[in-house]
């Protein structure tokens, strides 16, 4: 290996690692906020991510919007969309015991609906979607204190916290963060529809390893996974990278289910 190729590969690893890590961190932050506050394990996060990326593609390629304007439209659109979802799918279960498993099954169904809808619409038009090159722009979501009302809802209510409003706010925020990931993804890479399931699993893997509810954990682990992906893709199939996430996740689930960054 010449010095030149080492440098080029190193540069590629750094840029790919940063961008992929940012995308992973965003999705995982969304997943972890949803699970940490609302106890809502969203199996459809990969599909929401894909929805954002596909809308981005439509707006830029079919409608001729600039990527910046497209991103603004998609991000704004996600707010009413998530408010509707919250009202009909999340809120009815606030008082159900073990609601996390009910939510999980329900969002699996939701994911199947979206997967079917995407193959029925976008799947007919193309099988690879890519935007004209644009500066991707990495977004970093720093760790920030987040109201944690899942632990003791009654206590929170007694202290005068409007739990429902915080839940609604967390849901909208989490969806916004996932949408951001999808927008960034569409800007940086060409993609196909199978990415949705992969992203859903990776989002969960990062959440479990980083610790459910910890935004810091999801950003750190997301970055680590992103760089792993970048390094592994240089030498071997990216499938191996995904495989390693799954194994790490299983190990953490068995050894320390509260995750590495648990508070």
């Amino acid at each position: 290996m010449t010095l030149e190729s080492i440098l080029l590969n190193g540069l590629a690893v750094i840029t790919t690692g940063l961008i992929v890590g940012a995308i992973f961190s965003l999705v995982a932050a969304g997943v972890t906020i949803m699970y940490g506050t609302i106890w809502f394990p969203n199996a459809a996060n990969g599909q929401f991510f894909m929805l954002a990326a596909l809308l981005m593609w439509s707006l830029v390629v079919n409608w001729g919007l600039s990527p910046f304007l497209g991103a603004v439209v998609v991000l704004t659109g996600s707010i009413p969309f998530s408010l509707v979802l919250e009202k009909f799918l999340v809120r009815p279960f606030y008082n159900v015991p073990n609601r996390n498993i009910v939510y999980f099954i329900m969002t699996l169904g939701l994911a199947q609906i979206f997967a079917g809808a995407f193959t029925g619409t976008y799947g007919r038009w193309s099988d690879q979607y890519s935007l004209p090159a644009a500066w991707p722009g990495a977004i970093m979501l720093g760790p920030f204190p987040f109201p944690r009302t899942r632990q003791n809802r009654e206590a929170a209510i007694l202290r005068g916290v409007d739990v429902r409003r915080i839940y609604r706010f967390s849901f909208v925020l989490a969806m916004l963060v996932i949408t951001m990931g999808g927008v960034l993804f569409a800007m940086a890479y060409g993609f196909d529809l199978t990415m949705a399931w992969t992203m859903a699993i990776i989002g969960f893997a990062i959440m479990i390893v980083g610790g459910p509810g910890s935004v810091l954990g999801s950003v750190v682990i997301g970055m680590i996974f992103g760089f792993t992906q970048a390094v592994v893709s240089l030498f071997a199939s990216p499938t191996l990278a995904a495989f390693s996430y799954l194994i790490v996740m299983l190990i953490i689930l068995l050894v320390k289910p509260s995750g590495l960054f648990a508070r």
Partner: protein
């Protein structure tokens, strides 16, 4: 009781007779065969998801393991299907327990999530080792099982006889699940589902019974996978992906978890859908996905489970009213 026994005998005879009635039309006979196959699968899953309270999202992956093991033994080593199928089923169950053993300590959502992880890993594995699975293109032209006859002859199990074999396999599965749930340790399983900490405190080895239920359930997954491969004549990793696991769960949940008849009712209503609306195959996922959302929100007990629940509630109200009137009279 006598009336119930007559009903069961009638249903069994009907199940055995249907393949001959449907044999006039190959297409309907095929849908019937698929329905029997799904009765086998969903009853097997029900033992775990309904009676033990663990939702196994890796079920289709284990079915795939059983299918690929059997197909490889038959096509590469020339083994008879009837020898290869138990090996395949055992492989599915053993691998399932080895992979699932650690996660059996987990509960509720975390168990389901680790099931999703194992399922994803298995699907990736199926694509990754094409020498055993044919990769994404799959394996086609899988021969039908041969029935050995006295003398040196044998004839292929095809057409109506295959549906008949599937009917027998489905009936046997339902019978085994019924016997298991009526036995002592079947009741332990229900106790574990209702309150595993209390069950543990009573001195019942929760993990041991979970492993046992998991083993039997995976065995059925493998048997179903082997039959599926040889009935369809074609398998690919797509046949055993997470959507298949979810479809089988939906059948169990829609029919009624934790009841013997629930999965059968669910299968009869749901399994034929993708074959009947074949031109609309793109909408299959939307229909199934919507049904999952619908079931979790509006029908958590399932169709048959709701019927049972209302019947029991009415009987309870009736006996309570009777007790009251008798108390008033005395």
């Amino acid at each position: 009781m006598a009336y119930r026994r007559a009903a069961v005998v009638g249903l069994v005879l009907l199940a055995l007779a249907l393949p001959f009635l449907f044999s006039v039309n190959r297409f309907y006979a095929f849908i019937l065969g698929v329905t029997y196959l799904y009765i086998l699968w969903s009853s097997g899953m029900n033992l775990l998801s309904g009676f033990t309270g663990l939702m196994p999202l890796m079920y289709a992956g284990l079915a795939g393991l059983g299918a690929y093991t059997t197909v490889n033994l038959v096509m590469k080593f020339g083994l008879s299907f009837w020898l290869a199928m138990p090996v395949g089923a055992l492989a599915a169950a053993v691998v399932g327990v080895v992979l699932g053993l650690p996660s059996l300590r987990l509960r509720g959502f975390y168990f389901t999530l680790s099931g999703l992880v194992i399922q994803t890993a298995l699907t990736m594995l199926f694509v990754y080792i094409p020498q055993f699975t044919g990769g994404d293109t799959g394996i086609s032209q899988i021969p039908p099982p041969m029935i050995p006859l006295p003398g040196d002859k044998s004839f292929p199990l095809a057409g109506v006889w295959f549906e008949e074999a599937l009917a027998i396999a489905a009936l046997l599965t339902v019978y085994v699940v019924h016997r298991v749930t009526r036995s002592t340790w079947g009741r332990y399983l229900v106790a574990i589902r209702e309150d595993d900490l209390l069950t543990e405190a009573l001195g019942i080895g929760v993990t041991r019974y979970r492993v046992l239920a998991f083993f039997i359930s995976s065995l059925f997954a493998g048997v179903g996978g082997a039959f599926y491969a040889h009935y369809m004549g074609f398998v690919s990793p797509r046949s055993f992906d997470v959507l298949t696991s979810m479809n089988i769960w939906l059948i169990v949940g829609f029919g009624g978890q934790g009841t013997i008849l629930g999965p059968i009712v669910g299968t009869i209503i749901l399994a034929p859908i993708p074959y009947i609306m074949q031109e609309l195959y793109l909408y299959k996922d939307i229909v199934y996905g919507s049904l999952i959302v619908f079931t979790t929100i509006f029908l958590p007990r399932g169709v048959y489970g709701s019927v049972l629940f209302h019947r029991r509630a009415r009987a309870a109200a009736h006996s309570a009213a009777q007790g009251k009137s008798e108390a008033a009279r005395s």
